[in-house]
Symmetry: none
DNA sequence: AATGAATGAGCTTTCATTCAT
DNA sequence: GATGAATGAAAGCTCATTCAT
């Protein structure tokens, strides 16, 4: 399945993937329409269905693709030996910013995949979504927790940080032009705040 | 505007408001359909448009109404003199539970309003949403912050608590029957965890 | 099911039924399009789906309705005591012509239902189609077969007659205006030919 | 026209013709899709339109081709001197079976051509279809009619036989594998029944 | 006031046909 | 010649909205 799509020129593959990511990340699965994708990336209506069986098929393909690409990029992160949790967390965000070179909407899309609840596609993306979450967990588990472990319920702190970072990303995309450097600066600020708290 | 609606029998007003709240809180603005509301509260399709100009008009009315009602309830909260932040936060949740007597879906709906991003309605609800947020802030500012103020960036802790409480509420509504007492118990548990952290 | 449709004004019900019968009888289930029905009887696209769940639902409703109506008309035929097979067969065709007063395409539609093989609707119409066939058989079994029974394989002769009559009907509808009287004359001629054969 | 097609290798010509015959005979003109032909005979989509202007052009070509081929085969039949009608009729069916060596779906296709009523192609195939019918008539007119002529309207009997034989063929193709010998046996049986009738 | 029949724009999907390679 | 990517019109169906009763 989807071999046909993979035999397209890489440039066009990416144009379609980017178009789908942009629309899906902004409107979620159900509100995203083929017409919008036609407008966004100039690929005709019929072609989407030439390459993907139907709308759930398209969504699950692009979601899986995005998750896999993200996992690949993350797997190539150089995790500094003995880095503390916060350093590592920042590095992950840096990594996401580097994904944007090829897939500008991927960081936002990753977040929207995690929140997607439509029953038509939930089953289809459950597994890769789960794997992505696990990879992130594993990365973060390599951190030096000596600082955090002093606090009995540090897991809640981590949740808080995740929520904050997700919100900062959404804010970034809401601005006319997303600036990766500005985003990273914001993330750093918030991380520092929490670090001091401990 | 909407005087017509207010001249309806209160019972029917509330039936419609509850129907709209239930559907909007579950599916968000765009996925909510007139047919669903007809099914849920047995008021005919045409009547919705008789009282409310169109879908955005209906949403903004019900959202504003819900926000106002919540603000009224909250304004009547008895804030114990010198209560600490966490006690107060819990009291707010108790207050939400009391709203459920008249509008069972209001607590969930309040959260969904906050997250609503559809461009067709965002402008229409911006102001009351803002006011509601401010009222909550003001309430919370009356708390005794001596415990929290030791921590330079305690505002972030507060955010975390808010996220957690919102998630617990959503979980509660996902169960077959929402149990206010069970919900309040869960909230208390989580508050205690954080308190100990400080 | 379909109570909604039955609560329409009889005139409109019949307009829709006639529109559907005309289109379905001419093009068969799959080639018949909603747009064509809109053109033919001026009822909007959406309304067809307001009254009937989907295309198979529409087809099976109209087919069942047509078959039932035909059975009713046939049941009210006055079968002359001791009439021979051919007299009876002609009477059935007369009866079909009387159906045309309310449903001009019904005789043609009945034939097309019998031939319908689309898997999406075959199951849905199997039962009424079967019953209609049985009613016709029962009617014909009341005939005086003394003439026919002399011939060992008279059933084949009957088949032949049926094929011929069906073909004559199709020819009739192909002409610009279907003339019932002309059609009945043709049928009579062919029946006479066969009678003489025996 | 279609010289281009004829300059193809004979093997490929036949592969395409067989593919088209198979699909057209099973689904009729309108339901037959290019994709299905691609699947069935592995010739690319574009090529069909390279050789045939459009769908009606393809259909009329293949239909004419099939009819001509059938006429050729029939013209080469050795008609036994003084054979009666039924012997001759059987011989025609034997002849159809021999066509299957090169074009396995031709016998079924011939029948489907006769029934084809789509306005887009009816005109295009009218003439060859007519000629084929005439050739068959002429062949059959060479029969010894002494037995039949006793019956004033024996032409109708002939129609009946034709309908029966067509139905037997359709049944044969519905089975997983069409067995020519089994089919011929069935035909013989039915012919015998009728013979006894006279 | 109240109903729900009626409409049509818009969505997903199919398919004959075109065209660059 | 041969391929299959690409297109867009049209199909079945949904849904906010209007309107006659």
């Amino acid at each position: 399945m989807n071999e046909k799509f993979y035999s397209l020129k890489k440039e066009k593959q990416d144009r379609m993937i980017n178009g789908a990511m942009q629309v899906f990340s902004q409107y979620g699965y159900r509100h995203s329409s083929t017409d919008e994708m036609v407008r966004v990336c100039g690929v005709s209506k019929g072609l989407w269905f030439h390459y993907f069986e139907n709308k759930p098929g398209l969504y699950s393909f692009v979601a899986s693709y995005g998750l896999k690409y993200a996992m690949l990029e993350i797997s190539m992160m150089t995790v500094p030996e003995g880095a503390d949790y916060f350093t590592l967390r920042y590095a992950v965000e840096e990594c996401k910013m580097s994904m944007m070179k090829k897939y500008p909407y991927l960081p936002l899309f990753l977040n929207s995949i995690v929140r997607e609840e439509d029953p038509d596609v939930e089953k289809l993306i459950r597994e890769p979504r789960q794997k992505y979450a696990e990879q992130l967990s594993e990365i973060m588990m390599q951190a030096d927790y000596t600082l955090l472990r002093n606090h009995e319920d540090y897991l809640l702190l981590i949740d808080m940080l995740d929520y904050t970072i997700e919100a900062l990303l959404a804010d970034g995309y809401r601005s006319p032009v997303f600036s990766p450097s500005r985003y990273l600066m914001e993330v750093q600020k918030h991380i520092d705040v929490m670090k001091r708290l401990l």
